[in-house]
C-alpha cells in the first residue's frame, strides 16, 4: 500500500460528536487528502447547534463532493425513525427504518448488525455497463465485503440513487447511495481494509478533479 501521489486536497470532516473521526482521518490521509475536522450528542441537534445544517445542504446542491458514512447516510435522508420521528437533512428523499431481527437457520439475525457483509450492484434492470464505474465504488468487486455496524437502514424514495444493496436476513437494503456530488454508505469504508481504502482514493481523485460528478 502506498499513499497516492496526488496534489494535496482538503476534506472537511464534520464532527457531530458520534462516530470515529480518527479512522476517517487516517483513511483520508492514506488516500492523499488533508483533513480539517470542523468543530465537535444527538447528531441532528448538534448539527443545528453548530449551524451546520445549512452548510451541508448548500454543499449538497453545489459541485463539491459530500460524503456520508454510517449515521451520515441516515442524516442525509428527509426523515428518520431512530429515537422517534426526526427530520433529517433532507438532502435525499426517503426514510430510515430499523433492521428486522429474525432467525436464519439455527442462528439469530441480531440487531445491530455488527459484521462484514457483502455489497452488490443493484439488480433492477438498469442499462448494461458497470454502475459503479463513475462512483466512489469504482474498482470494487461486486459482492465485496465491507464492515457494517448499524441498527437502521435508509430507504430512498427514488430507487435510482441506490448504488449498492446488501442483504441481512430476509431484508435487502440500500447500503450506498449517490446523487450527483453526494455519496453515502451505511458501511464504514475506513474500516473495511483495502477495498474500503479504494473508496477513499476514488473520493480523493474526485476532489482533485474539483468536481463530484465523476470519481473514477
Amino acid at each position: 500500500m502506498s499513499t497516492l501521489a496526488a496534489p494535496r486536497v482538503t476534506a472537511a470532516v464534520v464532527d457531530y460528536g458520534l462516530g470515529n473521526l480518527f479512522s476517517v482521518r487516517q483513511a483520508c490521509e492514506h488516500a492523499g487528502m488533508e483533513v480539517v475536522v470542523t468543530a465537535c450528542g444527538d447528531a441532528m441537534a448538534t448539527l443545528r447547534r453548530l449551524d451546520l445544517v445549512h452548510v451541508l445542504r448548500d454543499i449538497a446542491v453545489s459541485d463539491k463532493p459530500l460524503i456520508g458514512i454510517c449515521l451520515g447516510i441516515q442524516l442525509l435522508m428527509s426523515e428518520s425513525h431512530e429515537f422517534g420521528v426526526h427530520r433529517g437533512l433532507g438532502v435525499i428523499e426517503g426514510g430510515v427504518v430499523r433492521l428486522a431481527a429474525a432467525r436464519q437457520g439455527a442462528r439469530d439475525i441480531k440487531v445491530p448488525q455488527v459484521q462484514w457483509n457483502r455489497i452488490f450492484r443493484p439488480n433492477d434492470g438498469r442499462p448494461p455497463g458497470d454502475p459503479w464505474a463513475a462512483t466512489p465504488l469504482a474498482g470494487v468487486a461486486d459482492g465485496q465485503f465491507m464492515y457494517f455496524a448499524h441498527s437502521y437502514h435508509v430507504q430512498p424514495t427514488d430507487p435510482a440513487v441506490t448504488v449498492s444493496v446488501s442483504r441481512y436476513g430476509d431484508v435487502e437494503f440500500c447500503s450506498a447511495l449517490r446523487r450527483r456530488n453526494v455519496f453515502a454508505s451505511q458501511f464504514h469504508p475506513e474500516r473495511s481494509g483495502m477495498p474500503g481504502l479504494q473508496v477513499y482514493r476514488n473520493i480523493a481523485r474526485a476532489v482533485t478533479r474539483g468536481r463530484g460528478e465523476s470519481a473514477a
Binding site: P112, Q115, G139, S192
Partner: protein, 308 residues
C-alpha cells in the same frame, strides 16, 4: 463468461461471524498468560496487529492488562500507531474509567471501547458512554469464573477481583444500559487451549439480543466453530492460537522488548503444548467447511483496483 459474484453468492448466509485476534498488552508488549497469569512476552502489539490485518482479521481487540490496577496510558501511543496502518475495527479496553477516558482512546484511533471494572463499579457509565459515543462504540467486557453451583460470577481487574455479580444478570443489565456488544471471557479457559466455555457463551447469548463475542480458550480451529455452532457466539476472539505461530516466525531481538517481561519463552522459540497453531486463513477455511459464514481472507484483495 463466468458466474457472476452475485449469482455465486445468491442464497449464501447473510450472517458472517467475525474472527477477532485479541492482543493483551502490558506496557509496550504483547503478552499472553494462562488464566490471566504468568504473562509471557510475545512481541510488539503493532507488529502482530499489522500482520493479522493483512491476513484477514475481521477486527482486533487490544486489552491493556495492567491499566485497571496502575492507571498507565502508554496504550494510547500503541493505539495511534496501529490505527495509521490497520484499517479494520479496533476495540480497546483496560482501565477506562470515565467518558473522558473513553474519548481519549477513541481520539487515539480506537473504533470501540471495552469496559469492565469501571462499569461494574458504576453501571451508569455504560448509559453515559453509549449516549455520548453511540451504543455501537460500547462493548461491555464480562470476565467470568464458574461457581461451584454452576452459575457464573463476573470478575474485575483482569481476573484478580471477584464481585458477587452474576455474569448472566449483569449481561442483561448491560444491554438495558446501552451496551452495543458483549465480550465474554472465561477466565478458567483463557490461555489453556482447551476450548471456549460453550455453556457460559450460550447462556449469555440466549439472554441478550445484541452480538456476543466469545473469548478465552481457543486452542484449535474446531474450538472456534464449536463456540459458534454450540455456544451461539456471533464472533470469536483468538489469541494463543495465532500468537505463538507468529511470534516464532518473527525475528527475535530481546532489545525490542523494553521494560519488564518474561521473554525466555520467545528466546527458546517455543510453541505451546495445548495449542494447535493456526493462521487466520486456516480458521476461516475451517468455518466455511463447517457451513459457517465468514469473510474469506482473499476478498481482502481487489479484482480491479488499479483499473480506475
Amino acid at each position: 463468461m463466468a458466474v457472476s459474484d452475485r449469482e455465486r453468492h445468491e442464497g449464501a448466509s447473510t450472517l458472517n461471524v467475525r474472527v477477532i485476534p485479541r492482543l493483551d498488552i502490558k506496557g509496550p508488549n504483547l503478552v499472553k498468560g494462562i488464566h490471566f497469569e504468568g504473562l509471557r512476552v510475545l512481541g510488539r502489539p503493532e507488529d502482530f496487529a499489522r500482520r493479522y490485518y493483512e491476513d484477514g482479521a475481521d477486527e482486533l481487540v487490544y486489552m491493556d492488562v495492567v491499566a485497571s490496577l496502575y492507571g498507565r496510558n502508554s496504550l494510547l501511543d500503541i493505539v495511534e500507531r496501529t490505527s495509521k496502518e490497520v484499517f479494520i475495527p479496533l476495540t480497546v479496553g483496560g482501565g477506562l474509567r470515565s467518558p473522558d477516558d473513553i474519548r481519549r482512546v477513541l481520539r487515539a484511533g480506537a473504533d470501540k471501547v471495552a469496559i469492565n471494572t469501571a462499569a461494574i463499579a458504576r453501571p451508569e457509565l455504560i448509559r453515559e458512554a453509549s449516549r455520548a459515543f453511540g451504543s455501537s462504540t460500547i462493548v461491555v467486557s464480562i470476565e467470568a469464573i464458574r461457581r461451584p453451583d454452576g452459575t457464573y460470577e463476573a470478575y474485575v481487574d483482569y481476573g484478580r477481583q471477584s464481585t458477587d455479580v452474576d455474569a448472566i444478570e449483569w449481561a442483561k443489565r448491560a444491554v438495558d444500559l446501552g451496551a452495543g456488544e458483549l465480550l465474554v471471557t472465561s477466565i478458567e479457559q483463557d490461555g489453556t487451549g482447551r476450548g471456549l466455555d460453550l455453556e457460559l457463551t450460550r447462556a449469555i447469548a440466549a439472554a441478550v439480543p445484541i452480538p456476543v463475542i466469545a473469548a478465552g480458550g481457543a486452542g484449535r480451529v474446531a474450538h472456534v466453530s464449536d463456540v459458534i455452532a454450540r455456544g451461539a457466539a456471533d464472533a470469536v476472539c483468538v489469541a494463543s492460537l495465532l500468537h505463538y505461530h507468529y511470534a516464532r516466525q518473527a525475528p527475535f531481538d530481546a532489545g525490542n522488548f523494553q521494560h519488564e517481561g518474561n521473554v525466555e519463552h520467545l528466546r527458546r522459540r517455543a510453541g505451546f503444548g495445548n495449542v494447535e497453531e493456526a493462521t487466520l486463513a486456516d480458521i476461516k477455511e475451517h468455518l466455511l467447511a463447517q457451513g459457517i459464514g465468514c469473510r474469506r481472507p482473499e476478498t481482502q484483495s481487489l479484482t480491479a483496483v488499479e483499473r480506475a
